[in-house]
């Protein structure tokens, strides 16, 4: 038996069997959603992929409220875990990450993660290394109620020394195969372009691992750039990537993925991302002041994402909307009044 982080497969199936699956209005404030569904010690699934559709607004609210001993689960992420790591680096008594189960934590062309370096090089966090496929497969297993999923990659790698995978001879082919334990986060935090009041989500661009993550988790908090009419949502059922019954809270947060990219709506704010990452790098090198100032200005100094966006020059916001190529939110909708 292994030690499960988040829910065990048995606990998860029990939980999901009893979960309220009614089609009800799930709108609430982000404050309330985080109070209700994110607890100290939780395994939190971070949606999006690297810096696309990162649940930045939800993470900022978690930081404002303060949560400790979190386990983070994701395939590839950047801004979400970086913000949490920054909060931890500034005040461990208020926010802390205990463990991360992941494949990639960095910012692609912007550079590696300063605070992943800070936390690991100072031995402040427990890591479990996987590949992107491994993490997606673990969440897929979780979403379909199986305790493990077989996979070939990366047999032969050193990841097997840090993670809980087991290598067996396949009972059907006789060849070596790796078994990955299912992942069941306590709560998935996901940002999408469009949702309705029941929690149905329409995502633009690749789905990443968001549908699997939502289905594998006990709870799901959704922020969306736009709340739209339910009838418009269901006119294009193929485009619904996360169905309402796995969702617990829906909050309309325009720019909820800022300063990351939200496919079809806004591109990366290259300036702001670089400013934040630069402040993180300074902390790593021993100067916490710029990062403290950043948090005081953009996270602790505001109540919500609207107030954060009010601090960004309008010209910059217009620019990230303008340079986002290929606006193809072509399924159509009426914005919910």
């Amino acid at each position: 038996m292994i030690e499960w982080t988040g829910l065990s497969p048995d606990e998860a199936r029990q939980f999901l069997a009893n979960k309220d699956k009614s089609k009800r209005d799930k709108r609430m404030s982000l404050k309330e959603a985080v109070q209700k569904f994110v607890k100290d010690g939780d395994n939190v699934g971070v949606g999006g992929f690297v810096n696309a559709r990162q649940p930045v607004a939800i993470v900022h609210e978690i930081i404002r409220q303060g949560r400790k001993d979190l386990t983070l689960s994701f395939a590839s992420a950047g801004l979400g875990p970086e913000y949490l790591a920054g909060a931890m680096a500034l005040d461990e008594s208020k926010n802390s990450i205990k463990r991360m189960e992941f494949a990639y934590f960095a910012h692609e062309a912007f550079g590696i993660s300063p605070l992943l370096r800070y936390l690991t090089e100072n031995n402040k966090v427990e890591l479990e290394d996987w590949s992107n496929y491994d993490m997606s497969a673990r969440l897929k297993a979780g979403s379909i109620g199986i305790p493990f999923i077989p996979c070939r990659s990366p047999l032969g790698s050193d990841m097997l020394k840090t993670n809980r995978a087991k290598v067996i001879d396949c009972p059907f082919t006789g060849r070596p195969i790796m078994l990955l334990p299912a992942s069941h986060p306590n709560v998935a935090i996901i940002h999408v372009q469009e949702a309705d009041i029941y929690g149905n989500c329409r995502t633009q661009g690749p789905m990443f691992t968001c549908p699997e993550m939502s289905m594998a988790s006990a709870h799901t908090i959704i922020t969306c750039d736009r709340l739209i009419e339910h009838d418009d949502m269901t006119r294009f059922p193929n485009r619904v990537t996360i169905p309402f019954f796995s969702v617990d809270a829906v909050i309309e947060v325009p720019f909820g993925a800022f300063p990351g990219n939200c496919n079809g709506l806004y591109y990366f704010d290259e300036k702001h991302t670089a400013e934040f990452r630069g402040a993180c790098e300074k902390l790593r090198k021993g100067d916490p002041t710029p990062l403290q100032n950043y948090y005081d200005t953009y996270i602790f100094g505001v109540e919500n994402t609207t107030e954060l966006i009010n601090k960004i020059p309008l010209s910059q916001i217009q620019y990230i909307q303008k340079i986002e190529p290929g606006i193809r939110l072509d399924a159509g909708y009426t914005v919910l009044g």
Binding site: Y133, P154, S157
Partner: protein
């Protein structure tokens, strides 16, 4: 002709991608080399990214990430990560991939996880430098029929033995890979800012098979952390043609490869 070593590397890697192949590219160098190939000679290529984008060509500049709309605005289809890396790569469908590396050893094993001062049992000690983690590269190295590794050629990067195997190459050399029943045949070549290395048959140790007009065999040996053998038929790699440079620069709109030599 005026071009940088980075451009030479991207063109040399791109020349190894062929028309009609199914290919997976990562962000940055890998994507530039791949889309250079697609524009220059590898017509009808079927390319994908691990984020779940199939059949797109970058628009509006080099993407900051493999998941953003610069590489998905004109996609043929979108899918889930598990489908991109599973149905397209782990299934055995994908012909070729290009990956980067922070550390590479003589058997083509790649480390993108971290640097430790002591190689022994690294997983349980804090690293000296923690890197990003593997991302989707392990799927490419285990399951693509072949793949290309691209990296700046520096002594600290090309080491006898990597501190941590994130993405398996030929492991301990010889037929060590065979026991894992991977679809993929392993790293076909390493293309660097100085030259090209390919595995010696039997041992699967990487040896120098090509150098550039802008480099020399001596310079490459000096900048390699293992005793690099030189293939008896080592070649001088042809310089970029004007057409190749034009096509590369059309893809490298932001001039990432022209910044430094």
């Amino acid at each position: 002709m005026n071009y940088t070593r980075q451009e030479m590397m991207a063109i040399a890697a791109g020349r190894e991608i062929y028309a009609g192949e199914m290919a997976i590219f990562g962000v940055g160098l890998s994507m530039l080399a791949g889309h250079f190939a697609k524009r220059n000679h590898a017509f009808g290529i079927k390319d994908l990214t691990e984020g779940g984008v199939y059949g797109a060509t970058p628009v509006g500049g080099l993407p900051w990430g493999i998941e953003d709309n610069r590489i998905s605005a004109n996609a043929t289809s979108f899918t889930h990560c598990i489908d991109a890396l599973g149905m397209m790569v782990a299934s055995g469908r994908c012909d070729v991939g290009i990956i980067g590396a922070a550390q590479i050893d003589k058997y083509g094993n790649v480390n993108t996880t971290g640097l430790w001062e002591e190689p022994a049992n690294p997983a349980y000690l804090p690293p000296k430098t923690r890197l990003s983690g593997s991302g989707g590269a392990p799927e490419i190295t285990c399951s693509c029929k072949r793949y290309i590794i691209m990296a700046a050629h520096e002594k600290k990067r090309f080491v006898e033995k990597v501190d941590y195997i994130s993405s398996p190459g030929y492991l301990s050399g010889g037929d060590a890979r065979a026991r894992y029943n991977f679809h993929g045949g392993g790293p076909a070549l390493i293309v660097t800012t100085l030259g090209i290395m390919r595995p010696e048959p039997v041992t699967n140790e990487f040896i120098l098979t090509g150098y550039y007009h802008s480099s020399s065999i001596e310079e490459i040996k000096e900048n390699t952390g293992w005793d690099l053998k030189v293939a008896p038929d080592v070649q001088l790699v042809p310089e970029p043609s004007p057409r190749e440079l034009e096509n590369l620069r059309a893809v490298d709109q932001t001039g990432m490869l022209r910044k430094k030599g």
